[in-house]
Amino acid sequence: MTREAILGAIRRGLKRGPLPLDQQAMLAGRTSMHPRHIIPARGQLDLAGRITLFTEYVEREFGTVDRLASLNDVPDAVTRYLALQNLPPAIVISPHPTLQSLPFGTRPMLDIRFGVSGPGDLVSLQHAFAGIAETGTLMLPSGPTRPTSNNLLPDNALVVLMADRIAASYEDAFDWLRERGGMPRNVMLVTGPSRSADIEQTLELGAHGPRRLHIMIVDGEG
């Protein structure tokens, strides 16, 4: 069997047979403890510092950030953003409970649909599981309430991120994910809008994913 042939060749190279059970147990221990390595100091700040650093890095990577006092302000902020960017008032929203409870009724002119975006949709609203201050990165795990397509297909990706979900490091965010039952099918770490430098090493935004990434950081409980 190919599998055995490959493993056998590796073991011959390592000059041993299959690992003895005690060593296997040691490695299994390392894997289940998943120890951290050096974590850069720059993200290790209090919440206010993490929010500031996160914002700074998102903007440096060509994303935009809006700071909102409460979830009730999201519909107004969305409408404002669409008008500012000259976009039609239509949006696909991920079926996340937090997003479903937003008071979009106050904005009857806005055409909203909950679900998965398709090729014709220009704007999506996603709910971020976490933000990571270290590099201005969003953590967007897949699942029934967070379709992956909404991170990718529309030209304009809008994201709601609760301020207290901005972690210092990727490690902190993955620990939160582990607490929620481990790896979903897909976890995207997103830092800024899509881009390519394939044409003459010159950065152009909007390669295949969203041309714009707009993050609304909302104060209050996540």
């Binding site: 069997m1 190919t2 490959i6 493993l7 590796i10 011959r12 190279g13 390592l14 296997q24 490695l27 390392r30 894997t31 998943h34 120890p35 390595h37 050096i38 850069p40 100091a41 720059r42 990577e61 079926p95 679900g115 998965v116 090729p119 270290e134 990165t137 699942g143 029934p144 379709p147 992956t148 991170n151 990718l152 490091s169 990727y170 490690e171 993955f174 790896m183 979903p184 099918r185 897909n186 976890v187 995207m188 770490l189 997103v190 830092t191 800024g192 809008p193 899509s194 881009r195 390519s196 430098a197 394939d198 044409i199 003459e200 090493q201 152009e204 909007g206 390669a207 295949h208 994913g209």
Partner: protein, 473 residues
């Protein structure tokens, strides 16, 4: 791809005379180094992280059998399938089988050097499955029937004129007289073309930057988002990757990610870093139904336990070629191999045999820059030297070089004779060159004087001066 490594000398001469390529190289070379340095300067922990990264990969390789089995079991627990493949043939056949089972007619592809290594596209096409490259650089190369010239910037040898010309030639449904006002217009045209492909493909193929034993996840890193569309929209996601990509845990992966993008493009983090674990789960509104991993050996297991084991640490960031004076002079195609630059010079002889790639480990000035920027500290010059030794032992080097080296070795082993000889030669050159200060031509040194003057030595040799000064004090 078709390996033409044995024609490196001819390829290099052609590359030096290629005005378009030289223009592209002159533009790109300074940028790579500058961007990396800027990113490294902003992370005080970077040097320490290089040691951590090296340690993680060494640990993973020292227990590669264990972590591969752990990884495969985790993939299967998540509902995925692992296909173990010894050779390129096995891997191609495995991918085709998956495509046939899915009834696939078109497959989209994220950027993957391993699929270049196994020449997957030609094989799929010959078997009635149409592959579509979706990375912008890979897309234009597929149109132009060219291999990538760089492992992370595959089309960096092309200039804007080439892009415009190629798009006009192949996008025949668009008006021929359309104007590309700026680079953005080229990008926008490719984006529209590829959107159709993303939405209609039956299978999506990506590579992997890392495989995680703890969770059974594969990780890809892109800036365009093409890899994500490739693995999200079709019914089946196939990951084609090498066995050396496995690391134990998420934390190990995160440490490696911190050095990867900084070394590669000088970004703190690439735009999309995505962890995929199996196919669609209950309640998932999107994503592929099936998830397959084609795990390729293709000579890698043979490197374990040899002096080339260090090469298995490579995370394919391209920092070595970005900083290499040889790569910077001739570009990637001259190497005639899937993997160019210093990492390619070490890896290629392992994949295709030293007899077919003996010139590549010689395509180095041994300046050591590659090792000094490698995020996992692979001793690349040393490994190239090991290949040169093997090449010499197996008599693959040309007779002229062998006699020359033998002649030199005779004197090098007899220091007194060596000093006498070099002193006599140097004094003679000094005497004959005293008027002009240089030589435009010298016997046996045409390789030097063909492109530049040889300066005439001034004064005595180092050893003679050193001895004289010691006597004086």
């Amino acid at each position: 791809m078709l390996e033409t490594s044995s024609a490196f000398k001819e390829n290099a001469t052609g590359a030096m005379a290629d005005a378009g390529l030289q223009k592209a190289l002159a533009r790109a070379k300074p940028q790579f180094a500058k961007k990396r340095l800027a990113a490294v300067d902003k992370l005080p922990e970077f040097e320490e992280l290089r040691d951590v990264a090296k340690g993680i990969k060494n640990h993973a390789i020292a227990h590669l059998d264990y972590y591969l089995e752990t990884y495969a079991a985790a993939v299967e627990r998540a509902g995925g399938h692992v296909h173990w493949c010894s050779t390129a043939d096995d891997a191609r056949a495995a991918v085709l089988r998956i495509c046939r089972d899915a009834g696939a007619r078109t497959v989209t592809k994220g950027k993957s050097m391993v699929t270049e290594e196994i020449a997957l596209n030609d094989y799929l096409e010959a078997n009635g499955v149409t592959p579509v490259e979706t990375d912008l650089g890979e897309y234009i190369l597929q149109l132009r029937h060219e291999p990538p010239s760089h492992i992370i910037g595959p089309a960096f040898h092309l200039n804007r004129e080439d892009w415009e010309e190629t798009f006009r030639k192949y996008h025949t449904d668009l008006p021929v007289d359309r104007i590309f006002h700026e680079r953005r217009d080229i990008l926008t045209e490719a984006r529209a073309k590829l959107r159709e492909k993303f939405l209609t493909a039956d299978v999506g193929i990506t590579g992997a930057n890392f495989l995680i034993a703890e969770t059974g996840s594969s990780v890809i890193v892109t800036n365009e988002g093409n890899g994500d569309l490739t693995q999200t929209l079709p019914r089946v996601h196939v990951v084609v990757t090498g066995i050396e990509k496995v690391v134990p845990t998420i934390e190990d992966t995160l440490a490696l990610l911190r050095v990867l993008a900084r070394s590669a493009t000088g970004q703190d983090m690439s735009v999309y870093t995505t962890f995929s674990t199996g196919g669609r789960r209950v309640g998932d509104p999107d994503g592929p139904e099936d998830y397959h991993v084609v795990l390729l050996d293709n000579g890698r297991s043979g490197m374990v336990g040899t002096q080339f084991q260090d090469m298995l640490r490579c995370i394919r960031c391209a920092a070595c070629m970005n900083h290499c004076p040889v790569y910077g002079a001739v570009g990637g195609h001259a190497y005639g191999s899937t993997y160019p630059g210093p990492m390619g010079a070490v890896l290629t002889p392992m994949l295709v045999g030293i007899e077919n790639a003996a010139l590549l480990p010689n395509a180095s000035t041994f300046c050591g820059k590659c090792e000094s920027v490698c995020p996992v500290k692979i001793p690349l010059p040393n490994l190239m030297r090991h290949w040169r030794e093997r090449e010499f032992e197996r008599h693959f080097s040309p007779p002229g070089m062998r006699y020359g080296l033998g002649f030199w070795a005779f004197f090098a082993k007899r220091p007194a004779l060596y000093r006498l000889g070099t002193r006599a030669a140097s004094l003679a050159l000094s005497f004959f060159g005293r008027k002009r200060g240089f030589f435009a031509k010298l016997p046996l040194a045409g390789g030097w004087t063909g492109s530049k003057n040889f300066p005439a030595p001034e004064g005595d040799t180092f050893f003679a001066q050193y001895a004289a000064r010691r006597r004086a004090t």
